[in-house]
């Protein structure tokens, strides 16, 4: 009872990365709270799906398996979640801050009158004192997120309503296997007890999904172009450097908005979070929203012609100069020194 739920997104029998990241985090929270970690998987053809989840420390896998439940539509998934939460009374329910999680989460929270915090960047357990009512709450979920366009960081708590719900973007939490041998149990839900025929009023008639060609999260070296790169041609140079040193190319929002790079390369609060071994920022000023997505990189190099660019403060190396001058030199001296 009062466990932690993670809603797991699944497509074609494969659990989404963001869900595995949340299970990793959920395991740590469950240890702190001395409760169990439960996954909820809603979809079609799910036999064996639990094997993908156990290694992350999942104790119970709740499965709703029905051909009508994939692809995702709002109402049937909402109905399963609402009723399962009413039955099991989890204290915490986590979802990805994806197009699915942000469609489902608010609907579920509205029905259950439970608070929901979108886009958390950190989740912690802690106590809370309500000074006005002289009440102390033990072991609440601190839902930490940037607010006001990223200019402040707010810690949100839900003292009275359960479950405490939060969504988290892909890449924000780390995905880590707990043990290959961890084993939990499966609970198969009788789908007809959870969904009504009237839940199927919205139907998907066409889908065009593409696998992203950009693999920022999986790359150990990320080189990012900002507005200072100046043009698409400037980015072509970055791609050349990337292919020479084996890196993936990211972009700041200003560079994406200016059309220098595609949206799926954006790094930051409204893009991807990366934590590579080496991060090189070319012509990036380093506003909070950008830094939120890269500050955990092991080594940071900033190339900027403004000595006062904020990103320089968090960089290990600052190269003062023009991007257009530095990129070709990096290519040249990398080649020279690896020969």
């Amino acid at each position: 009872m009062n466990n932690i739920f993670v809603y797991c997104e699944v497509e074609g029998g494969v659990i989404a990365d963001v869900s595995l990241e949340l299970c990793t985090k959920g395991r740590k929270l469950a240890d702190q709270l001395h409760c169990q970690l439960e996954a909820v998987v809603i979809g079609a053809n799910l036999s064996g799906v639990e094997k993908q989840l156990y290694p992350y420390g999942v104790d119970v896998v709740n499965i709703a398996d029905d051909p009508r439940l994939e692809p995702y539509t709002t109402l049937p998934h909402t109905s399963v979640m609402i009723q399962l939460i009413r039955e099991e009374q989890p204290q915490i329910a986590l979802m990805g801050a994806t197009t699915i999680g942000r469609d489902l989460g608010p609907r579920v929270s509205s029905a259950l009158h439970s608070g929901l915090t979108a886009d958390c960047t950190s989740l912690e357990i802690g106590d809370h004192e309500d000074k006005k009512n002289e009440k102390v709450y033990k072991d609440l979920l601190y839902q930490i997120r940037p607010a006001f366009g990223g200019n402040i960081i707010a810690t949100i708590v839900n003292p009275d309503c359960r479950p405490q719900m939060a969504t988290v973007r892909e890449g924000v939490m780390k995905k880590e296997i707990l043990s290959k041998h961890y084993v939990g149990t499966v609970k198969n839900l009788e789908v007809s007890r959870y969904v009504n025929d009237s839940d199927f009023v919205v139907s998907v008639i066409e889908r065009h999904m593409e696998k992203s060609k950009v693999n920022l999260k999986g790359s150990s070296i990320v080189i990012t172009g900002g507005y200072g790169v100046g043009s698409r041609e400037g980015f072509d140079q970055l791609f050349e450097l990337a292919s020479v040193i084996g890196a993936e190319v990211g972009a700041s929002r200003a560079a994406v908005d200016a059309g220098f790079a595609d949206h799926d390369r954006q790094i930051g609060q409204t893009g991807v979070t990366v934590r590579p071994k080496l991060y090189i920022a070319f012509g990036v000023s380093g506003q909070v929203q950008h830094v939120a997505g890269m500050q955990e990189s092991s080594m940071i190099i900033s190339v900027n012609n403004d000595p006062k660019a904020p990103i320089n403060a968090i960089a290990d190396y600052v190269i003062q100069g023009d991007v257009n001058d530095v990129v070709p030199k990096m290519i040249k001296y990398y080649k020279k020194n690896t020969k």
Partner: protein, 290 residues
């Protein structure tokens, strides 16, 4: 078909995209007064979709509903200037401190008071919180199905077809009315103000605005009732006070902090051949590169 009854939910927000230094107070809280108040950008995309549906289906009406302080009446005027038929301002001390759940409760109650529509159109999210929660939460409270991330909406007969823009592609879905739709920023931009509508509605005001303007507009509003922006307060709703405002908000802000970065001791160098040669050598030797 006699057209549809459409309600657009729009919010006035501080322009967080242009936060300057003076927008943050010494204590790290936001100085709202220093930020211009604007029509939430994606709510303009929502308004445009609603206007297109209205035009495609003669006889439709488009009502704008906003919850906020008195000055949020600006949003309603902006919508009237672009083709909305009328507007309601939901405003009351009882709603102060609402989180998204208490906001959606009040909006849902106001929608019931105005009369349940065929279609509710919202923006995907408001830039002051970036939560994207109010739309789906209103839908749940009213028992409406929802379609989020809409980019294109077409209604033929009683079938609604919506193109959705998702993270990794697009989806076309089919539904029927009643329905709540949230519109994505990638949908067409809103049309500009229409000069004729500006002439017609520039004097549209709420009762509170008329009272504080210290002018006798009373007569004019009896002859031109369309110039009245109706205010709705808590007492006009069939609502429970415990579900409103701070009391009705399960989420509480425990702490607000300024963003501080962990500054590192950095090695600063000019972009000379000599320095870059040495740096690349070092990165290769310590296996950061290669």
């Amino acid at each position: 078909m006699n057209g549809f009854k459409i309600i657009v939910l729009a919010k006035q927000v501080p322009d967080t995209r242009n936060v300057g230094k003076d927008a943050m107070k010494e204590d790290g809280t936001v100085n709202r007064a220093a930020l211009p108040a604007i029509f939430n950008p994606e709510d303009l995309n929502a308004l445009e979709q609603a206007l297109r549906i209205k035009e495609a289906h003669p006889g439709s009406t488009l009502t704008i509903l906003t919850m906020g302080p008195g000055r949020a009446a600006d949003i309603i005027r902006e919508a009237l200037f672009r083709g909305a038929d009328d507007g309601f301002l939901l405003t009351d001390r009882a709603f102060a401190g609402s989180d998204t759940l208490a906001t959606s409760y009040a909006l849902a109650k106001a929608i019931e008071k105005i009369g349940r529509p065929d279609l509710i159109v919202c923006g995907r999210q408001a830039i002051d919180g970036d939560t994207a929660q109010v739309g789906p939460q209103v839908a749940e409270k009213l028992g409406f199905p929802q379609i989020t991330y809409a980019e294109e909406v077409n209604i033929e007969g009683d079938v609604v077809r919506v193109k959705r823009r998702l993270e990794r592609g697009i989806e076309i879905v089919k539904a029927s009315l009643p329905l709540l739709i949230t519109v994505n920023g990638s949908a067409p931009e809103c049309r500009p103000r229409n000069a004729r509508m500006v002439m017609r509605y520039k004097k549209a005001t709420t009762l509170t605005e008329r009272q504080s303007a210290n002018e006798d507009y009373l007569r004019m509003y009896t002859s031109h009732p369309y110039l009245n922006i109706e205010e709705i307060g808590f007492k006009d709703l069939d609502a429970n006070i415990d579900d409103c405002g701070l009391a009705g908000s399960p989420t509480k802000v425990k702490k607000i902090e300024n963003v501080v970065f962990q500054a590192k001791e950095s090695m600063v160098m000019p972009a000379t051949d000599h320095h870059l040669d040495a740096l690349m050598k070092e990165l290769i030797i310590n296996h950061t590169l290669g």
